[in-house]
Amino acid sequence: MARIGVFVCHCGENIGATVDCARVAEACRKIPGVAHSVDYKYMCSDPGQTLIREAIAQNKLTGVVVAACSPRMHEPTFRRVCSESGLNPYLCEMANLREHCSWVHEKSDVTTDKAIDLVAMLVEKVKRNKPLHPIKVPVTKTALVLGGGISGIQAALDIANAGHKVILVERDPSIGGHMSQLSETFPTLDCSQCILTPRMVEVAQHPNITLYTYSELESLDGFIGNFKTRIRKKARSLDEKLCTGCGLCTTKCPNKKIPSEFNTGLGMRTAIYVPFPQAVPNKPVIDREHCTYYTKGRCRVCEKVCPTQAIRFDQEDQIVEHEVGAVVVATGFTVKETDFFPEYGYGKYKDVINGLQFERILSASGPTLGEVKRPSDGRVPETVVFIACAGSRDPAKGIEYCSKICCMYTAKHAMLYKHKVHHGQAYVFYMDIRAAGKMYDEFTRRAIEEDHVQYIRGRVSRIYERNGKLIVQGADTLLNAMPVEIEADLVVLATAGVANEGAEALAQKLHVSYDSHKFFVEAHPKLRPVETNTAGVFLAGACQSPKDIPESVGQASGTAAKVAALFSMDELTREPVVAVVNRTAPPLYSTCVGCFLCQSACPYQAIEREEIKNRNGQVVKTIAKVNPGLCQGCGTCVAFCRSKSIDLQGYTHEQVYAEVMELLS
């Protein structure tokens, strides 16, 4: 029989006042295989720990059950105690007498009986525990950063400055992201581009950063410290080494009427283009969808005018491979597009625009060079209605959440509008003003009090056009839901911030979880906000949920610190709670029949194929093999395997079976 030690903790009054700890200890003493059973006031205290240490040595214990609080609290403590006493730490289990018993039941015999059951169950489990040893994996000290917006830039720079290599991948032709599109930033109203561009340049010049723009993640395999990534470098149709970025091609391109993505469709660009003047790298790409050569087979003007003969029409997408140790996902967000608000006529009326479009209108580098003109006829709008929460906090639209940034940028928009059109009237329809942040509330107050923006608390039900005006129908809930009708020249919708199209596919490539809105999910909402549940993959910025610039930058630096901490180690140790495929004597070798149905059940691609060879080197069967570096120990494969050929260390069939049988015996 095994020699199990049971240590019942009173946790002061926490357990002791409700559960008769002495009776628990005594009952456990009678369980076959229990060699030692005591109760003590504070097991986690120094004397308590010493008690355990001494008992392990004196009684030659082969396993320990500490009946105290939740294992989520003190399991590491007691496992360490065992380890210090020469007992493998995984031969220690905790029975949760506090959270699951004394705190939730009244003092009674029934409660003490339950406590005895809980301990007895774990005694049976621990009898079947096996010594386990942490798994060690090496670390490749290069980080992959996906997304070249402010979050990606910040994370990349921080990691690179810590002395580690970074591979920065950006989908668009230039880094910069949404921040490069913004006019001024709240609450300081400093120029967005002015503070961003130096950072962009720093990235381009940093010796530790390899930048891939106009590139996308193709695949990510492997596990923390040991990822293998493939990146698709989309064809720019240009030899980047030869291109000097002189811009001649873009001026000569005859195809000039393509809506500019950077200007949110409010301005035009050419088919060969640099998205904006401060782009990094400042080298054009050919938009093959619109280029006359690719669509009609002729033109090649750019090729002719290029002084360095850098145009390459036959260039193909290129796949580059890298080994990385950590991944930072900073792929950002997007704003909800047209056709989402038929009742607001967004997409139907040219003068109903979204906030990002208004940023471009306000921006000095924008299509109107910073003059506020409305898109339909270029007139300066006299009356502008801003609608906050356009889609956000609206379960009917499927977006229950608050997009967080809109209150502030709407206040900023209204304020900037008033600064530019002094006689204009600005209305803001809002649900609540959420201006929590340093100097944020003061900022909105200024908009209302100093710039006389009219804030109307209420929703807009419908917008329609009549006689060149936009009739905005709404209600003012502060005036007893009085109907409000405003004749506006321009309506700016603070549309919800949403996940990028393709976020789901990317999450699947990265094996990270995502919520119902396709935002990526952090490992713990409070305590592990920058990690994902896939070890080694971290989050920064708005790909997790809408965030403003300071928050994005803060999180990016936090992520960088996590990555740097990871890279400070040459080797990682991991909990050995991993699945294992059994091996038996020949001729069976394993009871695994190699159906590989477990493969698709594994969320981590941890199940590989292993060929078993006989003494002559012939392959006799192919069976599943769990890569312990990838396996996170969920055990889905274990419950799924028909022949019970996979088992989960720490939660083996024998262990859980014994627990259940003991529980009810």
Partner: protein, 144 residues
């Protein structure tokens, strides 16, 4: 019947429901002491055979609970479990097992109160259903 106290076994995942039950404790919310929790890393690990074993050993009711969809610590263990339960529940029902004795649930780490409600409602329901004599008799008849 009034003295009958159902035996309930709860199979829960470590990350959501176990933590949720911890929160019930830290919040000092009281619930029926009839339940015994068996901890698993994930609902994906819960073998349907364990449910059968619990009934054969005299459980009157069973709770199976884990993370809400999309909240799984392991991204998708609960989704796999959900399909497995669905198939199991239909089969069990087809074979005449009293499936109302098995309560599947999602309880997150933040739902301490929900855990207490879940336990209480399950205990109450099973108390009304009475002991699971049919299953117990089958097991006992095997022991002649």
């Amino acid at each position: 019947m009034s003295e009958f106290e159902p035996k309930i076994v709860a199979f829960v995942c470590n990350w959501c429901t176990y933590a949720g039950a911890d929160l019930t404790g830290t919040s000092r919310i009281k619930y029926a002491p009839n339940v015994r929790i068996v901890r698993f890393p994930c609902t994906g690990r819960i073998d349907f055979m364990l449910l059968l074993k619990a009934f054969s050993q005299g459980a009157d009711g069973i709770i199976v609970s884990g993370c809400h969809p999309n909240d799984c610590h392991y991204t998708s263990g609960n989704f796999h479990a959900r399909r497995r339960w669905m198939a199991f529940r239909n089969l069990a029902e087809f074979m005449g097992i009293e499936v109302e004795r098995i309560q599947f649930s999602w309880v997150s780490a933040a739902e301490g109160a929900k855990w207490a409600d879940l336990v209480n409602s399950t205990v109450n329901r099973v108390r009304e259903l009475g002991p699971y004599d049919a299953y117990r008799q089958m097991a006992a008849s095997s022991w002649q």
